[in-house]
């Protein structure tokens, strides 16, 4: 799960001297929200986001004369004037989990990926992570999800997996909701079958409780 396997490698970059208006056009054309700013030999010096650019734009409530003056000012502004210097970066040998936690902590939508000497190698964004997790969840393969309550103790998963395998059903993925209720976990196997009812029957025979699908959740906000 290393970053370099999931990052965008073909990165669109700008230089510190690029006019902000040109950077804005570039973002719109390429449908991207972050532009890494590099100097010679791809050394990263900053990052500029669509939000940085929007804040530099003139207010929409200006009068026509004010607007003309503002636009003149804008053509003179360069990326280096508004970019974030020393942005948070990530290395190609860090992992998707690192990126996920960092994004949650920094409230940032994308990180430049740089090597040890500071050269830009790629970008990893929320979009890349989502693609990876759509893949991990097996969402693009036909299947059906089950929800099972298990005791929070060793060996439960083996019983579940064995029971499903006995029915000759393959797995697309298995998710485990770590916290369910006191002493319980919830297991969500994604089964590659049109016929999950035989698996359900077998699990019930083994004494497992199947969750009402309307009660399923993977995460919910803490109770106040």
């Amino acid at each position: 799960m290393f970053i370099d396997k999931s990052m965008t490698k073909d990165v669109v970059t700008v230089s510190p001297e690029t006019p902000v208006l040109a950077a804005q056009t570039l973002m719109a054309q390429k449908n991207i929200r972050h532009l890494p700013v590099v100097v010679e030999n791809d050394f990263l010096v900053g990052i500029v986001s669509d939000r940085d650019i929007r804040s530099a734009m003139p207010s929409t409530v200006l009068s026509e004369t004010e607007k003309a003056a503002e636009e003149k000012r804008l053509t003179a502004i360069k990326v280096k004037d508004i970019m974030t210097r020393n942005p948070v970066t990530i290395s190609p040998t860090q992992t998707l989990e690192d990126a996920l936690i960092m994004m949650q902590n920094c409230k940032v939508g994308a990180f430049p990926v740089v090597d040890q000497v500071g050269k830009l190698k790629g970008m990893i964004s929320v979009r890349d992570l989502m693609r990876a997790f759509v893949n991990v969840l097996g969402l693009e393969e036909p299947g059906a999800l089950l929800g099972i309550v298990v005791e929070d103790k060793l060996g439960q998963m083996k019983i579940v997996v064995d029971a499903i395998t006995e029915q000759r059903v393959s797995f697309g993925s298995i998710l485990v909701a770590r916290v369910w209720e006191e002493g319980k976990r919830a297991v969500f196997p994604y089964l590659l079958t049109n016929n999950p009812s035989k698996v359900k029957n077998r699990l019930r025979e083994l004494g497992f409780t199947l969750l009402d699908p309307m009660e399923w959740y993977l995460d919910q906000l803490p109770k106040k």
Binding site: L192, T193, S197
Partner: protein, 320 residues
């Protein structure tokens, strides 16, 4: 009363899926018995089952896949692509017969010999992709029927209504770029049911953007939600599209008693829905409906569900 055709052939029982498999020949045996007991058989016009020509199968499926299925049956490999798709040496011929019978129904419909038809076929079809067997399906019966209407009968606008509780991924994918085939499906929400496609934001692509429409129903929901979605989603869509022929992927597994799903549609709910399809066919399609059996696994519920379905096609309430 309408001239309703019935496609049924004992050879549809020859596709055997092995012990414990829900898609069993018994589904058709109980249906046949129910039609007899209800006295409906004399009212129905028999449609012969003959093997489809390869060129029609190839309007949907890749020749390599067709060959792979044939070979797997000859070699008696037991399954194709997944343990869901049990096969026996007769599966290939049975699947060809099912398609060929449906094409015969279309010929009779377009020649004016029947007004509509129900095709009690096995194996079902709507999960089958161009190059893959999926969810008990090998040839996509309804998709081939739509292609046949386009190619052989030059029909310009075809509407498909798929009320099997599982989304018809195969049919949707085959027509997602085709603006002349409108695919509508109502099914259990894909986060809770096989095959995990048919989300409400899937609306077709390219030139076919807007001629795919999915309505989803949550576990535990039944008649009320089905009625709401048919009225809000399907009826305005077909009102605008005005299909010249309506094909129905008639799956009966959304029924409360069917343990393949968590939806709770009642027998009356199914009839209500089919009445609406029948009315739309009257308004837009000259009454032309070809309904093709997909899923539905409760041997207790199926006989009544399908006899009611056929009664609607016959329009018995308006006997003349």
């Amino acid at each position: 009363m309408r001239r309703t055709g019935l496609l049924y052939d004992e050879r549809f029982l020859l596709h055997k899926t092995g012990p414990g498999h829900p898609e069993t020949p018994d589904r058709l045996i109980v249906l046949q018995r129910a039609l007899e007991e209800a006295g409906l058989l004399p009212k129905l016009i028999p449609i012969p089952a003959t093997p489809s020509k390869m060129k029609w199968i190839e309007t949907v499926h890749a020749p390599k896949y067709i060959y792979r299925l044939e070979e797997a049956c000859i070699l008696d490999l037991g399954e194709l692509d997944s343990a869901d798709n049990q096969i026996c040496p007769q599966t290939y011929e049975t699947a060809l017969l099912a398609v060929g019978g449906i094409l015969n129904a279309i010929d009779m419909l377009m020649e004016g010999k029947i007004d509509n038809a129900f095709c009690a076929v096995r194996p079902p079809g709507h999960h089958a992709e161009t190059n893959k067997a999926l969810g008990f399906c090998y040839f996509n019966n309804v998709a081939i029927a739509a292609r046949y209407l386009q190619v052989q009968w030059k029909v310009g606008r075809i509407g498909i209504v798929d009320f099997d509780v599982h989304h018809g991924n195969g049919t949707q994918h085959i027509f997602e770029e085709d603006s002349e085939v409108f695919y509508y499906s109502i099914h259990e929400h894909p986060s809770f049911a096989y095959p995990g496609t048919g989300r409400e934001f899937e609306k077709g692509s390219g030139p076919g953007l807007g001629t795919t429409l999915n309505s989803t129903v949550l576990p535990g929901q039944g008649d009320e939600v089905y009625k709401e979605k048919i009225v809000q989603d399907l009826m305005p869509a077909f009102g605008e599209f005005k299909p010249e022929v309506i094909l129905v992927s008639a799956g009966f597994d959304a029924h409360a008693e069917d343990d393949m799903s968590d939806t709770k549609l009642s027998t009356e709910g199914f009839s209500w829905m089919m009445q609406k399809v029948f009315q739309m066919a009257g308004q837009y399609s000259g009454g032309r409906i070809i309904s093709v059996l997909e899923g539905g696994y409760s041997l207790a519920a199926l006989p009544e569900l399908i006899t009611d379905h056929i009664r609607i096609l016959l329009d018995l309430e308006h006997s003349d």
